[in-house]
Symmetry: C2
Subunit: 373 residues, 2 copies
């Protein structure tokens, strides 16, 4: 298998630990072990570190099933993060020569993992004005050999959210052409107006985890929810690849899910507060604009078009400590990824510094894109 470098992850690996103010992280405020112990002081007591339950601790499974309308046990299995769930579904469904549709800008796993498996991938561009999806463009991309439509909802980096009505229309399209629909719901915040694709379509599969609005990426734990035939096949593949999720991560996850209302409300409060500060700043900014999303913890902010997003982000980090992932990592110049879920000591101050720095940077003619020169 030959697979391209994963640009965003590589950028994070290379630079993240140099950040003083990380404005690009997709997760919300991370919880600590102590936070979980505050919810349930004894959840670690006597916990044996054996393989545990192979397809998931029953208490954890019950909590997860309560997030969906379809509560059948055979519609759920555990994975090591949502992205591993995506991998397993793609490994099982996709053969050399199959056609896959995804959206762009999007998460690179959805395009370059199927490509590495010898699939042809169509990337349907979101509307740049507001990052909405034009369903007609999905329809136009469908071919006889289209096997799978895959994207995240809400999406990374644009924050695009397909509401249940829009998803219903997409499901109808997939149904007509008998196409599987794998939706990474890792940014779902489980509010009442959100519905999982697993509850909308019998060939729908949702992947999810506790990494984003739950702030528990460190558990490296996710799940797949949907079509029982695929879930069964995933369980067979799991025996070859992960065996189980382990009692430590699963025990912590069960605590978090039992207390999800508190955790998710905390996240919402942080995101709302950040968005208010960002919105007020954007209204005065001469350099930046951004469509703040209805859902999720991430957005894609426009920067001056003349700039090389990579050069700008490198210089900015070096000189101010402010950290972004550049649009170039999503194959889209003119943007940086702006995270919405982290608590900052002084977000207003950081944004002011960003504006001041960028105005001077432009004035000095620095960081120009090659194509613009």
């Amino acid at each position: 298998m030959h697979i391209k470098d994963f640009l965003t992850e590589q950028w994070m690996n290379d630079y993240e630990r140099k950040a003083v103010v990380n404005l690009t992280d997709t997760s919300s405020v991370s919880l600590s072990v102590n936070d979980l112990l505050a919810f349930e002081p004894s959840f670690l007591d006597g916990l044996m570190l054996d393989y545990g339950w192979i397809t998931g601790d029953p208490v954890l499974r019950r909590e997860i099933l309560s997030l969906y309308a379809d509560k059948r046990e055979e519609t759920l299995t555990m994975t090591g993060g949502a992205l591993q769930g995506n991998q397993m579904v793609m490994d099982l469904l996709l053969e050399y020569g199959d056609h896959v549709i995804t959206i762009t800008p999007g998460y690179q796993q959805f395009s370059d993992y199927p490509r590495a498996k010898g699939c042809l991938v169509s990337e349907v561009p979101l509307e740049e004005s507001d990052w909405s999806l034009d369903l007609e463009k999905i329809k136009a991309a469908i071919r006889p050999e289209t096997k799978l439509v895959i994207f995240a909802n809400p999406s990374n980096p644009t924050g695009t959210w397909l509401d249940p009505a829009c998803m219903e229309k997409l499901v109808e399209v997939c149904k007509v052409h008998d196409i599987w629909l794998l939706v990474d719901e890792v940014y779902r915040s489980y509010e009442d107006d959100e519905i999982s694709v697993a509850d909308q379509y019998d060939k729908g599969i949702a992947s999810a985890s506790l990494s984003k609005p739950f702030g528990l990426a460190g558990l490296r734990l996710g799940w797949l929810k949907g079509n029982p035939e695929i879930i069964h096949r995933v369980n067979v593949l799991r025996d070859y690849t992960i065996i189980s999720g382990g009692p430590l991560g699963e025990g912590a996850a069960a605590v978090a899910l039992k207390h999800r209302h508190e955790i998710l409300e905390r996240t919402k409060a942080v995101v709302d507060s950040n968005c208010a500060i960002i919105q007020a700043w954007l209204e005065k900014s001469e350099c930046f604009s951004c469509v703040l999303p209805k859902k999720g913890t991430v957005s894609f902010m426009q920067i001056p078009d003349c700039l090389s997003s990579k050069q700008f982000c490198q210089d900015l980090l070096e000189e101010t400590g402010i950290f972004f992932v550049p649009g170039a990592c999503f194959d889209k110049e003119g943007y940086v990824r702006l995270g919405l879920g982290k608590k900052h000591e002084d977000l207003s101050g950081a944004l002011e510094s960003l504006e001041t720095y960028t105005r001077r940077y432009l004035k000095e003619g620095r960081g120009r894109r090659q194509a613009q020169s």
Copy 2:
């Protein structure tokens, strides 16, 4: 991808939780969170559950590198268990039509995962007298399209251990034919007479974890050690499939590795005591015989040849609570897998019950194999 059911895992899933006396488990005595806290009382305090270090916590990495002669950072990366490491190496190295060599009886991942990828697999039988490997049979299996030799050392289920001199000969064979050598060292106990393939061959890759002699399967954490080019490619693939190991599992693993002498000595004491009891019992047994291995926590015990191993194991579990994985799950009738690493309240008593039950079972003519009738 179409992949066969993983017979051992499925058997464990179906029956393990009904066991009263589990005589088949491959892990040693499981540690609890409290055991780790006893080593380092504050290792969980304030631990943030974010993604953590992408290619492994530096403290953990230092502990792991100390297990090998080659201590270069670029020879190591973290995986979710050894089997996920094996998967990643096979995903990267193997293309449709490649030829793979493994040993039998062995771990089903090594034969049926490459088959699911469209590879041709030769299974070289171990010598039934003592489960040793005849290297000439490996040589005879090599073809021009042979890409990989893969097995576990010590091996599951037979306990076969290729000592450094024998491994050296195998490495010479692989070198001549430019074949990769992936050795699952999950049963390695890090005694002075053990050497990793990663320190013997530049196209050698070792996978390992804390699941077996460390008794920490619940961490779901392993690593790959070896050829830097492959490790780099694994790191790229990791960005698409796991991102990181997570601070919780890695923090616990670092504690365990710092205190490995104590943990491994405890395991050795249990295995030695179990083996002494088993050996004394075998000498008097009319129904069973077994070559107890020099290394590892698992062996393959001969049962009366007339029996269907599955039927016998099912009846035995149902009627006595004693649990084995049958040889049929390793495609080898006439055996059951006997674990050596667990502490039992009364192992002598359980073995006596096993003998008594089996004598009566045979006398009653139960559980005969179809082919024998």
